[in-house]
Each structure stands twice: as C-alpha cells, then as structure tokens.
C-alpha cells in the first residue's frame, strides 16, 4: 500500500535499472558539457551552450516520452534530454565539432541544434520560440490522420515566452486542445535578463490560463517531481485531455554559452547557492539513501563515463569534416 512515506521512485514505478541509467545519462551530459568547455578553450569546439543545472528537468521529461513514437521539439539547452532519448556522447561531440557524421545536422548547425528523425527529435533553428508552432501543427496532423495515443513535447526557456511565435503556438494548441506538452525550463535568466524583466507574472505557468490549458509548476531540480508532472501531462495529452504548460524552475550553473560572461549579471554567491543544490548531487544522494546504488558504484559509473567521453573526444577529433562538395546538398528535395 502506498502512503505519504512511499519513496517517489516506488510510487512512480521507476525500476532500479531505469534510475541507474538515468543517473548515467545525467553524469554523461555533465561530463560532456565540461569537456566541451575545455575543447572550446582549446579552439576545437567553436561554441558551447550549456545544459549544466538542467539535468533533472530534462531527464524527468525524457522519462515521460515514448522514444520514437511521441515527437520532441527541443531547444538548444537540451543535451541531457537528447542523450536520454538515445543520442550518444559521440553523437553530441560530432555535432559540437561539426563533423560529417553529426547525426543532428551533418556539421551544418551550430552546437545545440539536436535533431533525429528516427528518434522523432525535430530539427530547430536558433530563432527563439519559433518551434512551438510546429508542435501545434503536429497536433493538428495527428487529428487529421485520426491518430490517438500520441503526443508532442516542446521545450524552451522562460525567455521564449515573450516571443510572438510562442504565443501563437500556445493559442492554436489551446483552441484545438491539441496533444502538446509545453515545457518551460525556467532558469531565471535569458542570457543576462532576469526573469522579472522577461515574464510579467511570478510563474510562467500562470500564462497557461490565457490559453485554455493547465499550468503546472514543479521544482526542476527534482527529477521525480518533473517526471510525475511530465508523465501526467503527456498521458493527458495522449488521452485527448488537451495541452499543458509545465514550468520547471531551475538554474543554469554555467554562463549561457561560451560567448557569455555571467559575472556581469549575477553574483558568485548566487551561483554558489545553486551549485549546492546541484540536481545531479541531489539525485545521487537520493539513490544512495534509498539503497539503489552505493557511492562506490557511482564513482565507478563516473569513471566509466569519463572513459567514454575520452574515447568519444578522440573519435570526434579524428572524424572527417563534411566535404566541400557537399555544401549545397539537400537544398532541394
């Protein structure tokens, strides 16, 4: 029997195997992120946009997605998400280093533009917020085809919620009660602009009321809270219950990108206070406390991931660039 004391992973039916695989993905994402900053300083990766701090939000969301069935429309910060959906460390590094075999774009897109038709991860531009109208369109397509039991998850930062395209995507999804889950990863800054200068209400989720959909706020650093809310929202969408705006409150632990200096707009104390709430440490602590894994096993996992990142770095560095002859391929079908 479940009680208030039932641990969340039990209540949510998450197996040990899934939890450990999830932790491995979180660690792989953070280690790859760290490696990319290093490669950037070495001049071997032109650009890094960080996922550090967002790992629990993205893993919780990924758990709610049926891979290759539901559509996912990510944004540039979704490295943990795409890794959890099936892109490897090597895939991400090939993308970051613009190699021919980058599965997201073949070396065409700047880092952070994840895509895979096989995994139903939809290609995006760098135009913030412009992708949520695609989510609404997918919902209309399911309806036109008479397909049920399928949903779309579209993800974005809180800064995107000021964009007209975001508003139009929300409006269309709300009018037609489409099976779309809009996930806001609210890390409290759009580059340098603090949230109170980008969002006129205390919670982004409050905006949902204006679009005829449910708004839900969760602690984005609590992977279980995110998963529970994302799973409920995706199930509701798949069952004809309409769209949801899910706000996951979190914090990015690094500057926005390798072209940013966050010391200009936030204090070291603030960043440190959030480092103490690191979602990976929090998840590790939970798993150890509940006897899912030992600290020694986590260290072994971390060593294993580092070896994978090392090997993937070597492979990506050695991988060929796209040929110059291919520059105009796929302009037209």
């Amino acid at each position: 029997m479940e009680t208030n004391d039932t641990p969340p992973h039990v209540r949510l039916g998450l197996s040990r195997q899934r939890l450990v695989a999830g932790l491995r993905t979180m660690i792989a994402s953070r280690e790859t992120d760290d490696r990319l900053w290093l490669l950037n300083r070495q001049g071997r990766a032109h650009f890094v946009v960080t996922a550090a701090g967002h790992e629990a939000t993205q893993l919780g969301c990924a758990w709610a997605i049926r891979v290759g069935h539901d559509y996912v429309i990510p944004y540039y910060r979704d490295m943990t998400l795409v890794m959890a959906l099936g892109q490897s460390v090597l895939d991400v590094l090939l993308h970051a280093m613009a190699r021919r075999d980058d599965p997201s774009s073949g070396g065409r897109q700047m880092f952070g533009h994840y895509s895979s038709r096989r995994l139903r991860i939809v290609s995006g531009s760098s135009s913030v917020g412009s992708h949520l109208v695609h989510a609404a369109g997918l919902g209309l397509a399911f309806r036109a085809r008479g397909e049920q039991d399928i949903a779309v998850m579209g993800l974005f930062g809180e800064g995107a919620t000021a964009e007209g395209a975001w508003h139009e995507g929300m409006t269309i999804a709300g009018i037609h009660q489409l099976p779309v889950v809009f996930v806001c990863q609210n890390n409290q800054y759009s580059i340098s602009i603090p949230v109170h200068r980008e969002v006129p209400v205390p919670d982004v989720a409050m905006k949902a009321a204006g679009y005829g959909m449910q708004g839900v706020v969760v602690d984005g650093n609590d992977v279980f809270a995110v998963y529970e809310a994302a799973h409920q929202a995706m199930e509701r969408a798949r069952n004809g219950g309409g769209p949801t705006l899910l706000e996951c409150k979190t914090y990015r632990l690094r500057p926005h990108s390798s072209a940013d200096d966050d010391r200009k707009y936030r204090s070291a104390e603030e960043v440190e206070s959030w480092r103490a709430r690191d979602p990976i440490k929090r998840f590790e602590h939970y798993l150890v406390e509940h006897g899912i894994i030992t600290s020694e096993e986590i260290e072994a996992l971390r060593r294993e991931v580092r070896a994978e990142v090392d090997a993937a770095t070597d492979a990506a560095v050695a991988a060929p660039y796209p040929s110059v002859e291919s520059i105009a391929d796929h302009l037209y079908g």
Partner: protein
C-alpha cells in the same frame, strides 16, 4: 473540358487533390465555414471535414508554423495567407524554418508545405490589400515561388506545388480570380514547377512577365503586331527557380528583352533576369535590357488617380515595347 474562372480552378485543384490524397489539409483564416474571403476553399469543409479544413485564428506565423509542423508527420498542408500583405509575420517561419528544414538536418527532415497568398493591385485595395511581395521570397534558396496566370496553370501548378517535396509560395493575383476564364481538365494533373511557357511566339523582342502582367503584355503584343512589331511573350510562371534556359534561348533568338512585373522595380525579379541576360547572352543583344515595373512604393495608394498612375496597363507596356523596338 469545362471552362473555369481562375478562382474555380484553384478550388478545383484543392478539391480534386484532397479527394485523391488524404494527406492534404487546408488551414487559414476564414477558410472553412466561410470558404475563404475569396471563396477559394468554398465547399471543402463539407466534403473533407473540420480536421482537414481548419479555420485558424489571426496568427500568420502560427498558420505557416502549424503547416510546417503537420508536414513533419507526413501531411501535405496548404496554408492560406488571406492577403499577401499579411505574410510578413510568417516570414521567419517561411525563410528561417520551412526553407531550411531539409538543409539544416542534412536531408533528414523535409517540409513539403504550400503557402497560398492572393496578391496584386488594381482592386482598390490600397497599401495593405494590394501588395506584390514575391521579391521577398525569390532570394532565399530552399523554397519555390510560383505565380500562375491562367486557370489551367493555376490548377496544374497548385497540384504540383502540393506534391512538391519543397515548400512552395503560391501567389494568386486577385484581379485574375474572376476576370479570366479558360479550359481546365477535371481531376488531378501536374504542370511542371520551374518551367516557363511561350504565350506568344515572336522574333523582334522577348517580353518576360508573369501573373496579371502576362495578360497585359499579350494585349500589348497584339497591338504591336498591327504596327509590324513581332514580340515574344514568355510567362515565367515560376520565379524560383527561374527557367534560365527559357529566358536565355528566347533572348538569343530575338536580341531584345523587356521584363514586365507588378512588383516594384528595385529588388524585383527583373533585376535578376537582366543580370542573367547580361552575363550569359550579352553578345546576342541588339539593345539594352529594359525593365518595366511598379514604382518604388510600398503598394498602390487608395486614391483612384494614384492607383491608376501606379498600375501598369497594356498601354504602358506597349509604349515600352515600342521604345525598345526603336532602339
């Protein structure tokens, strides 16, 4: 073969292709219950239902963006922008999204949408119901731009656009909707995108044109024939990609070129055609390439004399042709 007006041909293209292929859907403002402000989509809701014929809110970015999203799942959406003048909010979706989906995913995704938009002046539509905006789309690769001039082409090219693997911007001159009539086959047929047609064969000069101006140019050519000037009139039909072979072979035959379009002079497609001719057919020219286009304004002003002054007409085209013939 029934005679149809241009708007009937558009409606017939949508109806017949939707009946033959359930992947095709139509979305836009007022397209379902009302059947479109020009009635291009009249009857489709009753025949195909509200999930394939969708009234959308006034949100052009959302309309085109939703069409893009639907296309990712294998559908063939036809989005209507009520007037070409309102396509601007959708430009990010057209140029930054639809045009690049295939390229930016290295061929993994594609975006086979059609965006239909009534364009053009001469109907007292003033600054925001009269614009010709094709120049905004012809300089971005990845999309195709089609402007038919006859009911036959309107149907065959629209069906081809719907089945084209790339996004197609499909402009319809609204003055043609009910002013021209012609034979249109029943059922589904394709006219090739990217191919110009010779509307009138001639030996003294080539007139490159499209849309409503194709009709005006033919009228002008008829007048000039009586004066002993034999003009060839080429209806481009597709502005991107341009039918370079048709343009160059015609000008190599006649040695003179006049480009006529309703879009403005500066930045209009006429400049590209003139450059093409200068680059690849210079030695064949007996006269400088001439362009006749709308003045460099946003669109026609509302006042009748200003609209009359703004618009090209057969007389103005005939004058430009005479001038070129005399050079």
């Amino acid at each position: 073969m029934p005679a149809m007006t241009f708007i009937e041909a558009i409606r017939s293209a949508l109806h017949d292709s939707m009946a033959a292929d359930d992947r095709i859907m139509v979305l836009g403002e007022d397209v379902a219950v009302k059947g479109g402000v020009f009635l291009a989509t009249e009857g489709l809701l009753a025949r195909f239902g509200e999930h394939r014929v969708i009234d959308m809110p006034i949100a052009e970015c959302g309309i085109v963006g939703a069409a893009i999203g639907a296309s990712l799942h294998g559908l063939l959406p036809v989005a209507e922008i009520q007037f070409a003048d309102y396509i601007y909010p959708a430009i990010d979706q057209i140029l930054n999204e639809a045009a690049r989906f295939r390229y930016r995913s290295n061929g993994d995704w594609s975006c086979p949408i059609v965006v239909r938009a009534p364009c053009g002046a001469g109907i007292h539509g003033a600054l925001y119901h009269s614009q010709s905006v094709e120049r905004l789309f012809t300089s971005t690769p990845g999309i195709k731009v089609v402007i038919p001039s006859t009911p036959f082409d309107a149907k065959g090219l629209l069906i081809a656009a719907i089945h084209d693997p790339d996004p197609v911007i499909f402009f319809e001159h609204k003055q043609l909707y009910r002013s021209v009539r012609g034979d249109v086959p029943e059922g589904v047929y394709h006219e090739p995108i990217g191919k110009a047609v010779i509307r009138r064969s001639g030996s003294d000069m080539s007139v490159f044109t499209y849309g409503l101006m194709a009709h005006y140019s033919l009228t002008a050519a008829g007048q000039l024939a009586a004066e002993g000037i034999d003009a060839e009139v080429i209806d481009l039909r597709t502005l991107a990609p341009l039918d370079r072979d048709a343009i160059l072979s015609s000008v190599k035959k006649t040695g003179r070129a006049l480009i006529v379009h309703e879009d403005v002079l500066t930045g209009g497609i006429g400049g590209e055609i003139a450059a093409l001719i200068a680059e690849y057919a210079f030695e064949y020219l007996d006269a400088p390439v001439r362009r006749l286009a709308s003045p460099d304004l946003f669109a026609t002003p509302f006042a009748d004399p200003l609209e009359e002054h703004f618009m090209l007409n057969p007389q103005k085209i005939a004058a430009a042709m005479r001038d070129l013939a005399r050079y």
